[in-house]
Symmetry: C2
Subunit: 370 residues, 2 copies
């Protein structure tokens, strides 16, 4: 409750990282930024005072500040040692999507440094890493917040954690967890009105609009959704061993799976995708004949311990069918909520809303550490 | 972070209070229950040790425990003095809907006792009380959590607070905030299929099912919704002076407004309500002719500083029109979220889900105080 200073290290200044720094600069009573790192460069507030702090602005402004110690890339261990020696509690904000940094969370946590991050890699990899992260947090009396790993700034993990912590029985979680796949199916097979766009044309349009990863196969393979489901299932109490340890329906045609991951491979993939338009049209028509639409969803049946990711048909007046744009929707079915689920819906991707989840987590961590 | 003991006083053992005590009994690392009070009786853990604590079970079990100090109703001031003298931080959980107890929150807060409550009265009354509550919390370094005052256990206030705290610009909040009115209109004018039930018959059915207050006029007058809007508007930054300082459309026909509030008055009201069925049918038909349905909603236009509560028409494929049962839906339109709002939906009333919001708030308060 007292205003003891908190020291902050931030790694990553991409889209989310840049938006986060802008939000940080406007937070009242923000912690002191003492580390700011990007892939090849690191800024540090001078020791032993850890003062003056780094201005929370964009990278260019921060790195032009005199008085800072500058170096090339530091090892995670070095950053942890620096933060642990600060004259107060410390927090690491990891705004990268780097699995190797995530593997170092236990190093930070054991030293008492809390971790706040939208990086889903660490929480959705081997179950042993998940366990190590939370055991290390307990050992170091440090906090872990990762709201933005699922649904960006939407209150998804906090809601699930509240349900579990207060003793509700979560029976089923279902939803659309990828903004990219939401856009693709809302456009390809809208619930109201109709579209005669071919599947490959919709994918090409999404790629042009920047809605897909640079390689659209990174969205179409379903792994991003599978990683989010892994995190939700673990919070709901299921010991999911890996993000590929359950059925994942890939939207990459089997015939194109062997194309290389190079730029040339991307071009070949996009060129050959129209060959499979008839397949997707067939799936859409089958749904249509049942008065339904097809959507790419993830679901967790907690009692059956079954997690799956793939195509499913939905009634046209269902909430999932009615999604707009690239929105996510997540439905929690629980004993207390009964037949109608608790639903959270809205933009689940984008720099600003992802950074918002990180900033809100940071505020909560600071409130608990002060 | 250390496990210093926290002392808990709970007032109210009605529907929400009883469900809360059941949840409290199952919380790991729960605070020590040292006060349990209902309207005419109070149980206290013996001083000066504040130990043994009161078992968190139902009232009957708790009150049959030997070793406790029992008395009649205590003044709020006396309970505050007792809690403030406990050998650790203290929290008051107010599970009543009592405005007079809510007026005493500043007394508790100034003594450093945090307040957790689903009681919306204190936060939706005069703006001066709202200001006094938060100024007193700051003075006493105490916390205030009241998630369940809007939408019960749904993450409504926490989401709005996160949006505001991280610097998003909330432009508009709109939704169905009353489970009772949700049920009435979803039944009277369903978005899919049709109903030829008369309005008065639907109200009578809801009353029989226990979905309305004992006096249905307490739902139909719109004041419950107006109080929730007042709370949301204040968190969004609007200085709403009173819950009746903006337009509220009452569903009590003007001709019946003078009926007494007695049991006899309720009977007269229900008997005469069918006289107005043609009026409501007319509203429903007008909506129908536009391809729409009528719903009872609240809305806040932040820029225009306009709050209003009443009937409005919605497209049949809109999320509000598609609500089921007695669900609530709350849409937040913000600068970051753009054209599609952040939506929270689900049961917004009932003992278990309301108590869940209280328990989740209690966990957060305890995490910060330890």
């Amino acid at each position: 409750m007292s205003a003891s200073p908190i020291y902050l290290g931030v790694i990553g200044v991409g889209g989310v990282g840049t938006a986060f720094l802008q939000q940080l600069a406007r937070l009242p009573n923000a912690p002191q930024l003492v580390v700011l790192a990007r892939s090849s460069q690191t800024l540090l507030a001078p020791t032993p005072a850890y003062s003056p702090a780094i201005p929370a602005a964009d990278w260019a402004t921060a790195s032009a500040t005199p008085s800072l110690t500058k170096s090339g890339a530091l090892q995670a261990e070095e950053i942890a040692t620096y933060l642990a020696a600060a004259p107060g509690r410390a927090i690491l904000v990891d705004n990268t999507s780097d699995i190797s940094l995530a593997r170092q969370y236990p190093t930070f946590l054991k030293k008492g440094i809390s971790v706040v991050t939208p990086n889903k890699k660490g929480f959705s990899d081997d179950l042993s890493l998940w366990k190590d992260i939370f055991a290390s947090a307990a050992e170091g009396k440090a906090l872990v917040y990762h709201e933005s790993t699922v649904g960006a700034g939407l209150p998804v993990l906090s809601t699930l954690k509240d349900l579990v912590a207060t003793g509700d029985e979560v029976t089923r979680i279902e939803g659309v967890f990828s903004g990219t796949l939401s856009f693709l199916f809302n456009t390809f097979a809208p619930a109201s009105g109709s579209s005669d766009a071919q599947w490959s044309a919709v994918v090409a349009q999404a790629k042009e609009l920047g809605y897909t990863e640079p390689d659209p196969r990174d969205d179409l393979n379903g792994m991003d959704v599978a990683r989010k489901l892994t995190i939700l299932a673990r919070i709901a109490g299921l010991e999911v061993s890996r993000p590929d340890s359950f059925p994942i329906e890939s939207l990459i045609p089997a015939e194109l799976e062997s194309l290389p991951s190079s730029a040339d491979g991307i071009t070949q993939f996009m060129t050959r995708l129209p060959e499979f338009d008839a397949q997707m049209a067939n799936i859409k028509d089958t749904a249509e004949k049942q008065g339904k639409v097809v959507r790419y969803v993830g679901s967790i049946d907690v009692a059956a311990k079954a997690v799956k990711v793939g195509l499913q048909y939905f009634d046209k007046d269902s909430a999932i069918a009615g999604l707009k744009g690239s929105d996510n929707i997540i439905s929690f079915y629980t004993k207390r909520y009964g037949a109608n689920p608790l639903i959270v819906q809205g933009a689940g991707a984008g720099g600003d809303v992802t950074a918002m989840g990180v900033s809100a987590d940071l505020i909560k961590a600071v409130e608990r550490l002060r």
